[in-house]
Symmetry: C2
Subunit: 301 residues, 2 copies
Protein backbone atom coordinates (compact mmCIF):
# COMPACT_ATOMS: atom_id res chain seq x y z
CA UNK A 1 0.00 0.00 0.00
CA UNK A 2 1.87 2.97 -1.31
CA UNK A 3 -0.44 5.10 0.76
CA UNK A 4 1.64 4.33 3.84
CA UNK A 5 4.72 5.76 2.30
CA UNK A 6 2.61 8.77 1.52
CA UNK A 7 1.44 8.84 5.08
CA UNK A 8 4.97 8.81 6.30
CA UNK A 9 6.19 11.36 3.84
CA UNK A 10 3.25 13.64 4.29
CA UNK A 11 3.42 13.60 8.06
CA UNK A 12 7.06 14.36 8.09
CA UNK A 13 7.19 16.68 5.14
CA UNK A 14 5.56 18.85 7.76
CA UNK A 15 8.96 19.72 9.01
CA UNK A 16 10.04 21.32 5.81
CA UNK A 17 6.72 22.69 4.64
CA UNK A 18 6.29 25.98 6.40
CA UNK A 19 4.77 29.32 5.64
CA UNK A 20 5.22 32.96 6.49
CA UNK A 21 2.56 34.45 8.72
CA UNK A 22 0.32 36.74 6.62
CA UNK A 23 -2.70 34.60 5.78
CA UNK A 24 -3.44 36.70 2.70
CA UNK A 25 -0.11 35.88 1.07
CA UNK A 26 0.48 32.46 -0.40
CA UNK A 27 2.26 30.26 2.12
CA UNK A 28 5.94 29.89 1.42
CA UNK A 29 7.96 26.99 2.74
CA UNK A 30 11.43 27.45 4.15
CA UNK A 31 12.72 25.72 1.05
CA UNK A 32 10.90 28.22 -1.15
CA UNK A 33 12.13 31.16 0.91
CA UNK A 34 15.70 29.93 0.61
CA UNK A 35 15.35 29.24 -3.10
CA UNK A 36 14.21 32.83 -3.63
CA UNK A 37 16.93 34.33 -1.45
CA UNK A 38 19.41 36.82 -2.91
CA UNK A 39 23.13 35.95 -2.87
CA UNK A 40 23.60 38.70 -0.28
CA UNK A 41 21.64 36.64 2.25
CA UNK A 42 24.51 34.16 2.43
CA UNK A 43 28.12 34.33 3.48
CA UNK A 44 30.85 31.77 2.92
CA UNK A 45 32.28 30.02 5.95
CA UNK A 46 35.39 31.83 7.10
CA UNK A 47 38.15 29.44 6.00
CA UNK A 48 40.62 31.18 8.33
CA UNK A 49 38.55 30.00 11.26
CA UNK A 50 37.05 26.75 10.01
CA UNK A 51 38.27 23.31 11.08
CA UNK A 52 37.99 20.07 9.17
CA UNK A 53 37.94 17.05 11.46
CA UNK A 54 38.56 13.91 9.44
CA UNK A 55 36.83 10.82 10.88
CA UNK A 56 36.51 7.34 9.37
CA UNK A 57 33.05 8.32 8.13
CA UNK A 58 34.09 11.60 6.56
CA UNK A 59 34.67 15.26 7.27
CA UNK A 60 33.12 17.28 10.09
CA UNK A 61 33.19 21.02 9.29
CA UNK A 62 33.40 23.25 12.36
CA UNK A 63 33.25 27.02 12.02
CA UNK A 64 34.88 28.83 14.93
CA UNK A 65 33.61 32.16 16.28
CA UNK A 66 36.61 34.31 17.19
CA UNK A 67 34.36 37.28 17.98
CA UNK A 68 32.90 35.37 20.93
CA UNK A 69 35.97 33.50 22.20
CA UNK A 70 39.05 35.20 20.72
CA UNK A 71 41.73 33.77 23.02
CA UNK A 72 40.35 30.25 23.06
CA UNK A 73 39.86 30.14 19.31
CA UNK A 74 43.44 31.37 18.87
CA UNK A 75 44.68 28.61 21.19
CA UNK A 76 42.77 25.93 19.30
CA UNK A 77 44.04 27.18 15.97
CA UNK A 78 47.59 27.15 17.32
CA UNK A 79 47.11 23.55 18.50
CA UNK A 80 45.74 22.62 15.08
CA UNK A 81 48.80 24.16 13.38
CA UNK A 82 50.93 21.99 15.68
CA UNK A 83 48.94 18.96 14.42
CA UNK A 84 47.95 18.39 18.02
CA UNK A 85 44.75 16.48 17.22
CA UNK A 86 46.04 14.32 14.37
CA UNK A 87 45.89 10.69 15.46
CA UNK A 88 43.88 11.39 18.60
CA UNK A 89 40.41 10.05 19.35
CA UNK A 90 36.77 10.61 19.94
CA UNK A 91 36.79 9.16 23.42
CA UNK A 92 33.29 9.73 24.73
CA UNK A 93 29.81 9.69 23.22
CA UNK A 94 26.94 10.10 25.68
CA UNK A 95 23.47 9.68 24.26
CA UNK A 96 21.38 12.84 24.08
CA UNK A 97 24.34 14.90 25.28
CA UNK A 98 27.81 15.22 23.75
CA UNK A 99 30.53 13.61 21.64
CA UNK A 100 33.97 14.52 22.95
CA UNK A 101 37.48 14.23 21.59
CA UNK A 102 41.00 14.63 22.90
CA UNK A 103 44.00 12.77 24.23
CA UNK A 104 42.84 10.06 26.65
CA UNK A 105 46.30 8.49 26.99
CA UNK A 106 48.28 11.71 27.35
CA UNK A 107 50.44 11.11 24.30
CA UNK A 108 50.50 14.76 23.31
CA UNK A 109 52.15 17.72 24.95
CA UNK A 110 50.35 21.04 25.13
CA UNK A 111 53.08 23.71 25.13
CA UNK A 112 53.55 25.21 28.59
CA UNK A 113 52.47 28.66 27.48
CA UNK A 114 49.17 27.24 26.23
CA UNK A 115 48.24 25.10 29.21
CA UNK A 116 46.23 27.68 31.12
CA UNK A 117 43.84 30.13 29.56
CA UNK A 118 41.39 32.53 31.14
CA UNK A 119 37.92 31.30 30.16
CA UNK A 120 35.64 33.19 27.83
CA UNK A 121 32.25 32.25 29.20
CA UNK A 122 30.92 35.58 27.98
CA UNK A 123 32.42 38.55 26.16
CA UNK A 124 31.53 42.22 25.73
CA UNK A 125 29.68 42.70 22.49
CA UNK A 126 28.08 45.74 20.97
CA UNK A 127 24.31 45.53 20.63
CA UNK A 128 24.59 46.15 16.90
CA UNK A 129 26.27 42.82 16.36
CA UNK A 130 23.38 40.94 17.96
CA UNK A 131 20.30 39.92 15.95
CA UNK A 132 17.56 39.61 18.55
CA UNK A 133 15.11 36.71 18.50
CA UNK A 134 11.90 38.18 19.91
CA UNK A 135 10.81 34.88 21.48
CA UNK A 136 11.42 34.76 25.20
CA UNK A 137 13.95 32.35 26.66
CA UNK A 138 14.16 30.70 30.05
CA UNK A 139 17.94 30.61 30.34
CA UNK A 140 18.96 34.13 29.34
CA UNK A 141 17.58 37.68 29.29
CA UNK A 142 17.87 37.82 25.51
CA UNK A 143 18.68 35.30 22.80
CA UNK A 144 19.48 35.66 19.15
CA UNK A 145 22.33 35.35 16.72
CA UNK A 146 25.79 36.74 16.17
CA UNK A 147 27.10 36.20 12.64
CA UNK A 148 24.96 33.03 12.25
CA UNK A 149 25.91 31.58 15.63
CA UNK A 150 23.16 31.04 18.22
CA UNK A 151 23.88 33.25 21.21
CA UNK A 152 22.49 34.95 24.30
CA UNK A 153 22.98 38.41 25.71
CA UNK A 154 22.48 40.38 28.88
CA UNK A 155 21.55 43.93 27.80
CA UNK A 156 22.26 45.15 31.31
CA UNK A 157 25.92 44.25 31.09
CA UNK A 158 26.47 44.17 27.35
CA UNK A 159 27.91 40.68 27.68
CA UNK A 160 27.12 37.97 25.13
CA UNK A 161 27.81 34.26 24.95
CA UNK A 162 27.33 31.35 22.59
CA UNK A 163 24.64 28.85 23.56
CA UNK A 164 24.56 25.05 23.77
CA UNK A 165 22.35 24.26 20.80
CA UNK A 166 22.65 21.12 18.69
CA UNK A 167 26.06 21.07 17.00
CA UNK A 168 27.66 23.68 19.26
CA UNK A 169 31.33 22.97 19.97
CA UNK A 170 32.67 23.64 23.45
CA UNK A 171 35.85 23.31 25.46
CA UNK A 172 36.13 20.61 28.12
CA UNK A 173 37.64 21.78 31.36
CA UNK A 174 38.47 20.67 34.90
CA UNK A 175 37.10 22.46 37.97
CA UNK A 176 39.68 25.14 37.35
CA UNK A 177 38.08 27.45 34.75
CA UNK A 178 41.54 28.18 33.31
CA UNK A 179 42.04 24.49 32.51
CA UNK A 180 39.94 24.74 29.36
CA UNK A 181 42.70 25.39 26.87
CA UNK A 182 40.99 23.86 23.84
CA UNK A 183 42.89 20.58 23.69
CA UNK A 184 39.72 18.71 24.65
CA UNK A 185 36.56 19.57 22.73
CA UNK A 186 32.99 18.34 22.48
CA UNK A 187 29.99 18.80 20.24
CA UNK A 188 26.36 18.77 21.36
CA UNK A 189 24.50 15.78 19.86
CA UNK A 190 21.24 15.88 21.82
CA UNK A 191 18.59 18.10 23.31
CA UNK A 192 20.18 21.47 23.98
CA UNK A 193 22.01 21.34 27.37
CA UNK A 194 21.59 25.05 27.96
CA UNK A 195 22.52 24.69 31.65
CA UNK A 196 26.12 24.46 30.42
CA UNK A 197 25.90 28.02 29.04
CA UNK A 198 28.43 30.33 30.69
CA UNK A 199 30.02 27.36 32.45
CA UNK A 200 32.06 26.40 29.42
CA UNK A 201 33.66 28.38 26.64
CA UNK A 202 31.84 27.61 23.41
CA UNK A 203 34.03 28.18 20.39
CA UNK A 204 31.93 27.40 17.34
CA UNK A 205 29.36 25.33 15.51
CA UNK A 206 29.38 22.21 13.37
CA UNK A 207 28.25 23.46 9.97
CA UNK A 208 28.33 20.08 8.20
CA UNK A 209 28.80 16.45 9.20
CA UNK A 210 27.33 16.46 12.70
CA UNK A 211 25.76 13.08 11.87
CA UNK A 212 29.28 11.61 11.77
CA UNK A 213 29.39 12.32 15.50
CA UNK A 214 25.73 11.82 16.44
CA UNK A 215 25.59 8.28 15.03
CA UNK A 216 28.72 7.04 16.81
CA UNK A 217 28.23 4.16 19.25
CA UNK A 218 27.45 5.38 22.75
CA UNK A 219 30.13 4.66 25.32
CA UNK A 220 29.08 2.26 28.04
CA UNK A 221 31.36 3.54 30.79
CA UNK A 222 30.20 6.28 33.11
CA UNK A 223 29.19 9.47 31.27
CA UNK A 224 29.42 7.74 27.93
CA UNK A 225 33.18 7.28 27.89
CA UNK A 226 34.39 4.38 25.80
CA UNK A 227 35.58 1.84 28.34
CA UNK A 228 38.03 0.06 26.03
CA UNK A 229 40.56 1.80 23.78
CA UNK A 230 39.56 -0.18 20.65
CA UNK A 231 36.11 1.42 20.88
CA UNK A 232 37.57 4.88 20.40
CA UNK A 233 37.04 6.54 17.05
CA UNK A 234 40.26 7.70 15.40
CA UNK A 235 40.69 11.28 14.23
CA UNK A 236 42.92 11.26 11.17
CA UNK A 237 43.50 15.00 11.21
CA UNK A 238 42.03 18.29 12.30
CA UNK A 239 43.13 21.01 9.89
CA UNK A 240 42.34 24.62 9.20
CA UNK A 241 40.39 25.05 5.98
CA UNK A 242 42.68 27.90 4.93
CA UNK A 243 45.67 25.56 5.05
CA UNK A 244 44.09 23.12 2.63
CA UNK A 245 44.48 23.47 -1.13
CA UNK A 246 41.39 25.28 -2.45
CA UNK A 247 40.26 22.24 -4.40
CA UNK A 248 40.08 20.20 -1.22
CA UNK A 249 38.01 22.66 0.74
CA UNK A 250 34.32 22.31 1.54
CA UNK A 251 32.86 25.28 -0.29
CA UNK A 252 29.95 26.06 1.99
CA UNK A 253 27.96 29.12 2.85
CA UNK A 254 25.64 29.80 5.75
CA UNK A 255 22.52 31.93 5.78
CA UNK A 256 23.33 35.31 7.30
CA UNK A 257 21.41 35.74 10.54
CA UNK A 258 21.19 39.50 9.90
CA UNK A 259 19.45 39.04 6.53
CA UNK A 260 15.74 39.56 5.74
CA UNK A 261 15.73 36.01 4.40
CA UNK A 262 16.68 34.70 7.82
CA UNK A 263 13.90 36.72 9.45
CA UNK A 264 11.44 35.21 6.97
CA UNK A 265 12.72 31.70 7.69
CA UNK A 266 12.29 32.19 11.42
CA UNK A 267 8.77 33.55 10.94
CA UNK A 268 7.86 30.60 8.75
CA UNK A 269 9.08 28.16 11.36
CA UNK A 270 7.45 29.98 14.25
CA UNK A 271 4.02 29.59 12.70
CA UNK A 272 3.51 26.88 10.13
CA UNK A 273 0.43 27.28 8.01
CA UNK A 274 0.61 24.52 5.44
CA UNK A 275 -2.08 21.90 5.01
CA UNK A 276 -0.53 19.53 7.52
CA UNK A 277 -0.21 21.81 10.55
CA UNK A 278 -3.39 22.38 12.53
CA UNK A 279 -1.86 24.18 15.50
CA UNK A 280 0.87 26.74 14.71
CA UNK A 281 3.18 27.07 17.68
CA UNK A 282 3.31 30.87 17.75
CA UNK A 283 6.76 30.54 19.27
CA UNK A 284 10.17 29.23 18.41
CA UNK A 285 12.91 28.26 20.83
CA UNK A 286 16.41 29.50 20.09
CA UNK A 287 17.77 26.03 19.45
CA UNK A 288 14.94 25.17 17.06
CA UNK A 289 15.86 27.97 14.68
CA UNK A 290 17.58 26.46 11.63
CA UNK A 291 20.92 27.83 10.43
CA UNK A 292 20.83 26.75 6.79
CA UNK A 293 24.10 25.74 5.16
CA UNK A 294 24.50 25.00 1.46
CA UNK A 295 27.14 24.42 -1.15
CA UNK A 296 28.36 27.66 -2.64
CA UNK A 297 26.94 28.26 -6.09
CA UNK A 298 29.38 27.12 -8.77
CA UNK A 299 29.53 30.61 -10.23
CA UNK A 300 30.81 32.16 -7.03
CA UNK A 301 34.53 32.85 -7.35
Amino acid sequence: MATWVLTARAALAADTVAAVTPPAAPARSMTEILAASPPSAWRPLNDDHTLYMQLPGGRVVIELAPALAPRTVANIEALVRLHYFDGLWVLRVQDNYVAQWGDPDGVRKVPDTMQKLAPEFSVPLGAAAFTLLPDRDGYAPQVGFVDSFAAARDPGTGMAWLTHCYGAVGVGRDNDPASGNGSELYAVIGNAPRHLDRNVTIVGQVRQGIELLSTLPRGTAELGFYDKPPQRVPITTIQLASEMPPAQRSRLEVLRSDSPTFTAVVAARRNRHDDWYLQPAGYIALCNVPLPVRAMPATTP
Copy 2:
Protein backbone atom coordinates in the same frame (compact mmCIF):
# COMPACT_ATOMS: atom_id res chain seq x y z
CA MET B 1 49.18 12.57 30.81
CA ALA B 2 46.41 11.09 32.85
CA THR B 3 45.41 14.62 33.74
CA TRP B 4 43.62 14.96 30.43
CA VAL B 5 41.40 12.04 31.16
CA LEU B 6 40.72 13.76 34.46
CA THR B 7 39.98 16.93 32.61
CA ALA B 8 37.51 15.16 30.44
CA ARG B 9 35.91 13.29 33.29
CA ALA B 10 35.78 16.28 35.59
CA ALA B 11 34.30 18.59 33.02
CA LEU B 12 31.63 16.17 32.08
CA ALA B 13 30.99 14.66 35.46
CA ALA B 14 29.37 18.05 35.83
CA ASP B 15 26.28 16.65 34.24
CA THR B 16 25.70 14.15 36.97
CA VAL B 17 27.03 16.14 39.89
CA ALA B 18 24.21 18.38 41.01
CA ALA B 19 22.91 19.76 44.25
CA VAL B 20 19.67 20.85 45.86
CA THR B 21 19.27 24.55 46.35
CA PRO B 22 19.67 25.35 50.10
CA PRO B 23 23.26 26.54 50.41
CA ALA B 24 23.34 25.54 54.07
CA ALA B 25 22.67 21.89 53.33
CA PRO B 26 25.42 19.76 51.87
CA ALA B 27 25.05 19.58 48.10
CA ARG B 28 23.49 16.37 46.92
CA SER B 29 23.94 15.07 43.42
CA MET B 30 21.07 13.57 41.46
CA THR B 31 22.76 10.22 41.91
CA GLU B 32 22.82 10.72 45.67
CA ILE B 33 19.22 11.85 45.75
CA LEU B 34 18.15 8.78 43.80
CA ALA B 35 20.26 6.46 45.93
CA ALA B 36 18.52 7.81 49.04
CA SER B 37 15.04 7.59 47.54
CA PRO B 38 12.37 5.45 49.18
CA PRO B 39 10.84 2.57 47.19
CA SER B 40 7.59 4.56 47.08
CA ALA B 41 9.26 7.13 44.80
CA TRP B 42 9.32 4.58 42.00
CA ARG B 43 6.73 2.68 40.03
CA PRO B 44 7.23 -0.27 37.72
CA LEU B 45 6.52 0.25 34.05
CA ASN B 46 2.98 -0.84 33.27
CA ASP B 47 3.52 -4.10 31.41
CA ASP B 48 -0.03 -3.99 30.06
CA HIS B 49 0.91 -0.85 28.14
CA THR B 50 4.60 -1.35 27.43
CA LEU B 51 5.97 -2.36 24.04
CA TYR B 52 9.20 -4.17 23.30
CA MET B 53 10.57 -3.36 19.86
CA GLN B 54 13.23 -5.87 18.92
CA LEU B 55 15.92 -4.42 16.62
CA PRO B 56 19.19 -6.01 15.49
CA GLY B 57 20.95 -4.08 18.27
CA GLY B 58 18.57 -5.08 21.04
CA ARG B 59 15.31 -4.14 22.70
CA VAL B 60 13.68 -0.71 22.73
CA VAL B 61 11.25 -0.39 25.66
CA ILE B 62 8.34 2.00 24.99
CA GLU B 63 5.84 2.76 27.71
CA LEU B 64 2.48 3.91 26.36
CA ALA B 65 0.29 6.49 28.10
CA PRO B 66 -3.34 5.42 27.77
CA ALA B 67 -4.49 8.27 30.01
CA LEU B 68 -3.37 10.77 27.37
CA ALA B 69 -4.27 8.92 24.17
CA PRO B 70 -6.72 6.15 25.07
CA ARG B 71 -8.10 5.34 21.62
CA THR B 72 -4.78 5.55 19.83
CA VAL B 73 -3.00 3.43 22.42
CA ALA B 74 -5.78 0.84 22.15
CA ASN B 75 -5.39 0.81 18.36
CA ILE B 76 -1.63 0.34 18.59
CA GLU B 77 -1.99 -2.46 21.12
CA ALA B 78 -4.53 -4.17 18.87
CA LEU B 79 -2.10 -3.91 15.94
CA VAL B 80 0.65 -5.35 18.12
CA ARG B 81 -1.57 -8.29 19.08
CA LEU B 82 -2.12 -8.88 15.35
CA HIS B 83 1.72 -8.97 14.98
CA TYR B 84 1.32 -6.05 12.60
CA PHE B 85 4.85 -4.70 13.09
CA ASP B 86 6.76 -8.00 13.09
CA GLY B 87 9.05 -8.06 10.08
CA LEU B 88 8.52 -4.39 9.21
CA TRP B 89 11.20 -1.70 9.18
CA VAL B 90 12.69 1.44 10.53
CA LEU B 91 12.39 3.34 7.27
CA ARG B 92 13.51 6.86 8.11
CA VAL B 93 16.12 8.39 10.40
CA GLN B 94 16.54 12.16 10.14
CA ASP B 95 19.39 13.66 12.11
CA ASN B 96 18.36 15.81 15.07
CA TYR B 97 14.73 14.92 14.50
CA VAL B 98 13.05 11.50 14.39
CA ALA B 99 13.45 7.78 13.71
CA GLN B 100 10.31 6.35 12.13
CA TRP B 101 9.03 2.86 11.50
CA GLY B 102 6.21 1.25 9.57
CA ASP B 103 5.33 -0.51 6.35
CA PRO B 104 7.02 1.26 3.44
CA ASP B 105 6.04 -1.39 0.89
CA GLY B 106 2.45 -1.84 1.98
CA VAL B 107 2.79 -5.53 2.77
CA ARG B 108 0.49 -5.35 5.79
CA LYS B 109 -3.23 -4.77 5.99
CA VAL B 110 -4.65 -2.56 8.71
CA PRO B 111 -8.17 -3.88 9.41
CA ASP B 112 -10.85 -1.63 7.91
CA THR B 113 -12.29 -0.75 11.29
CA MET B 114 -8.89 0.51 12.45
CA GLN B 115 -7.93 2.60 9.44
CA LYS B 116 -9.37 5.90 10.63
CA LEU B 117 -9.17 7.19 14.15
CA ALA B 118 -10.09 10.57 15.57
CA PRO B 119 -6.81 12.14 16.73
CA GLU B 120 -6.01 12.74 20.38
CA PHE B 121 -3.87 15.85 20.13
CA SER B 122 -5.06 16.82 23.61
CA VAL B 123 -7.39 15.27 26.15
CA PRO B 124 -9.37 16.50 29.16
CA LEU B 125 -7.42 15.86 32.31
CA GLY B 126 -8.12 16.77 35.91
CA ALA B 127 -5.65 19.24 37.41
CA ALA B 128 -4.86 16.76 40.18
CA ALA B 129 -3.22 14.39 37.73
CA PHE B 130 -0.79 17.07 36.55
CA THR B 131 2.48 17.76 38.39
CA LEU B 132 3.30 21.36 37.50
CA LEU B 133 6.83 22.41 36.58
CA PRO B 134 7.09 26.01 37.83
CA ASP B 135 9.49 27.01 35.05
CA ARG B 136 7.83 28.96 32.28
CA ASP B 137 7.56 27.50 28.81
CA GLY B 138 7.36 29.13 25.41
CA TYR B 139 5.12 26.58 23.73
CA ALA B 140 2.37 26.02 26.29
CA PRO B 141 0.61 27.85 29.14
CA GLN B 142 1.78 25.21 31.64
CA VAL B 143 4.15 22.27 31.48
CA GLY B 144 4.82 19.41 33.81
CA PHE B 145 4.32 15.69 34.14
CA VAL B 146 1.53 13.16 34.10
CA ASP B 147 2.50 9.82 35.58
CA SER B 148 6.17 10.35 34.60
CA PHE B 149 5.40 11.51 31.07
CA ALA B 150 6.39 15.05 30.05
CA ALA B 151 3.26 16.98 29.23
CA ALA B 152 1.65 20.39 28.81
CA ARG B 153 -1.67 21.78 29.94
CA ASP B 154 -4.01 24.66 29.31
CA PRO B 155 -5.62 25.49 32.66
CA GLY B 156 -8.26 27.54 30.87
CA THR B 157 -9.64 24.52 29.05
CA GLY B 158 -8.48 21.69 31.28
CA MET B 159 -6.91 20.03 28.25
CA ALA B 160 -3.52 18.31 28.48
CA TRP B 161 -1.15 16.81 25.93
CA LEU B 162 2.11 14.94 25.79
CA THR B 163 5.10 16.91 24.53
CA HIS B 164 7.82 16.20 21.97
CA CYS B 165 10.79 15.68 24.27
CA TYR B 166 13.69 13.35 23.51
CA GLY B 167 12.40 9.77 23.30
CA ALA B 168 8.73 10.71 22.90
CA VAL B 169 6.86 8.34 20.57
CA GLY B 170 4.28 9.78 18.20
CA VAL B 171 1.93 8.71 15.46
CA GLY B 172 2.70 9.58 11.84
CA ARG B 173 -0.25 10.87 9.87
CA ASP B 174 -1.27 12.27 6.51
CA ASN B 175 -2.92 15.70 6.15
CA ASP B 176 -6.13 14.05 7.34
CA PRO B 177 -5.87 14.08 11.14
CA ALA B 178 -7.85 10.82 11.27
CA SER B 179 -5.17 9.07 9.21
CA GLY B 180 -2.95 8.61 12.26
CA ASN B 181 -4.06 5.15 13.28
CA GLY B 182 -0.82 4.06 14.93
CA SER B 183 0.52 1.81 12.20
CA GLU B 184 3.34 4.29 11.53
CA LEU B 185 5.25 5.53 14.56
CA TYR B 186 8.30 7.67 15.28
CA ALA B 187 10.55 8.50 18.21
CA VAL B 188 12.24 11.86 18.82
CA ILE B 189 16.05 11.51 18.57
CA GLY B 190 17.11 15.16 18.58
CA ASN B 191 16.48 18.58 20.04
CA ALA B 192 12.86 18.66 21.18
CA PRO B 193 10.62 19.50 18.16
CA ARG B 194 7.94 21.06 20.32
CA HIS B 195 6.28 22.70 17.31
CA LEU B 196 4.83 19.24 16.61
CA ASP B 197 2.90 19.34 19.90
CA ARG B 198 -0.85 19.12 19.35
CA ASN B 199 -0.29 18.42 15.68
CA VAL B 200 0.39 14.75 16.28
CA THR B 201 -0.93 12.26 18.79
CA ILE B 202 1.90 11.30 21.11
CA VAL B 203 1.38 7.90 22.65
CA GLY B 204 4.30 7.26 24.96
CA GLN B 205 7.97 7.44 25.79
CA VAL B 206 11.04 5.30 25.18
CA ARG B 207 12.07 4.19 28.67
CA GLN B 208 15.14 2.20 27.62
CA GLY B 209 17.11 1.64 24.42
CA ILE B 210 16.64 4.99 22.67
CA GLU B 211 20.30 4.77 21.63
CA LEU B 212 19.36 1.81 19.41
CA LEU B 213 17.38 4.32 17.37
CA SER B 214 19.49 7.45 17.81
CA THR B 215 22.66 5.80 16.50
CA LEU B 216 21.08 4.39 13.33
CA PRO B 217 22.53 5.65 10.05
CA ARG B 218 20.76 8.75 8.84
CA GLY B 219 18.77 8.31 5.63
CA THR B 220 20.08 10.27 2.68
CA ALA B 221 16.80 10.72 0.83
CA GLU B 222 14.60 13.71 1.52
CA LEU B 223 13.57 14.01 5.19
CA GLY B 224 15.95 11.26 6.18
CA PHE B 225 14.14 8.40 4.47
CA TYR B 226 16.34 5.47 3.52
CA ASP B 227 16.52 5.66 -0.23
CA LYS B 228 17.27 1.98 -0.80
CA PRO B 229 15.39 -0.91 0.84
CA PRO B 230 18.59 -2.68 2.00
CA GLN B 231 19.34 0.35 4.19
CA ARG B 232 16.18 -0.20 6.22
CA VAL B 233 16.56 -1.59 9.70
CA PRO B 234 14.48 -4.72 10.31
CA ILE B 235 12.08 -4.94 13.23
CA THR B 236 11.97 -8.54 14.40
CA THR B 237 8.92 -8.05 16.59
CA ILE B 238 6.97 -5.49 18.55
CA GLN B 239 5.28 -7.20 21.49
CA LEU B 240 3.40 -6.21 24.59
CA ALA B 241 5.42 -6.79 27.75
CA SER B 242 2.43 -8.44 29.41
CA GLU B 243 2.36 -11.09 26.69
CA MET B 244 5.96 -12.09 27.30
CA PRO B 245 6.90 -14.74 29.86
CA PRO B 246 7.88 -12.91 33.08
CA ALA B 247 11.47 -14.10 32.83
CA GLN B 248 11.84 -12.38 29.45
CA ARG B 249 10.50 -9.03 30.55
CA SER B 250 12.59 -5.93 31.19
CA ARG B 251 11.97 -5.34 34.87
CA LEU B 252 12.22 -1.57 34.97
CA GLU B 253 10.83 1.15 37.15
CA VAL B 254 10.58 4.88 36.56
CA LEU B 255 10.83 7.67 39.08
CA ARG B 256 7.33 8.86 39.97
CA SER B 257 6.91 12.45 38.84
CA ASP B 258 4.54 13.08 41.78
CA SER B 259 7.17 12.07 44.36
CA PRO B 260 9.22 14.36 46.62
CA THR B 261 12.31 12.65 45.22
CA PHE B 262 11.41 13.88 41.75
CA THR B 263 10.93 17.42 43.03
CA ALA B 264 14.38 17.24 44.62
CA VAL B 265 15.92 15.96 41.40
CA VAL B 266 14.40 18.80 39.40
CA ALA B 267 15.62 21.37 41.94
CA ALA B 268 19.11 19.89 41.83
CA ARG B 269 19.19 20.12 38.06
CA ARG B 270 17.70 23.61 37.92
CA ASN B 271 20.56 24.99 40.02
CA ARG B 272 23.79 23.03 40.13
CA HIS B 273 26.05 23.96 42.98
CA ASP B 274 28.94 21.51 42.81
CA ASP B 275 32.55 22.56 42.42
CA TRP B 276 32.42 22.51 38.65
CA TYR B 277 29.44 24.78 38.00
CA LEU B 278 30.10 28.49 38.27
CA GLN B 279 26.82 29.76 36.89
CA PRO B 280 23.70 27.89 38.04
CA ALA B 281 20.99 28.23 35.40
CA GLY B 282 18.14 29.07 37.76
CA TYR B 283 15.81 27.49 35.24
CA ILE B 284 15.13 24.15 33.66
CA ALA B 285 13.34 23.50 30.40
CA LEU B 286 10.69 20.79 30.38
CA CYS B 287 12.65 18.56 28.02
CA ASN B 288 15.82 18.85 30.12
CA VAL B 289 14.17 17.30 33.16
CA PRO B 290 15.42 13.72 33.54
CA LEU B 291 12.95 10.86 33.96
CA PRO B 292 15.16 8.31 35.72
CA VAL B 293 14.63 4.64 34.90
CA ARG B 294 16.34 1.78 36.71
CA ALA B 295 16.22 -1.96 37.06
CA MET B 296 13.72 -3.04 39.68
CA PRO B 297 15.41 -4.10 42.88
CA ALA B 298 15.84 -7.86 42.98
CA THR B 299 13.78 -8.09 46.15
CA THR B 300 10.70 -6.58 44.55
CA PRO B 301 8.19 -9.33 43.86
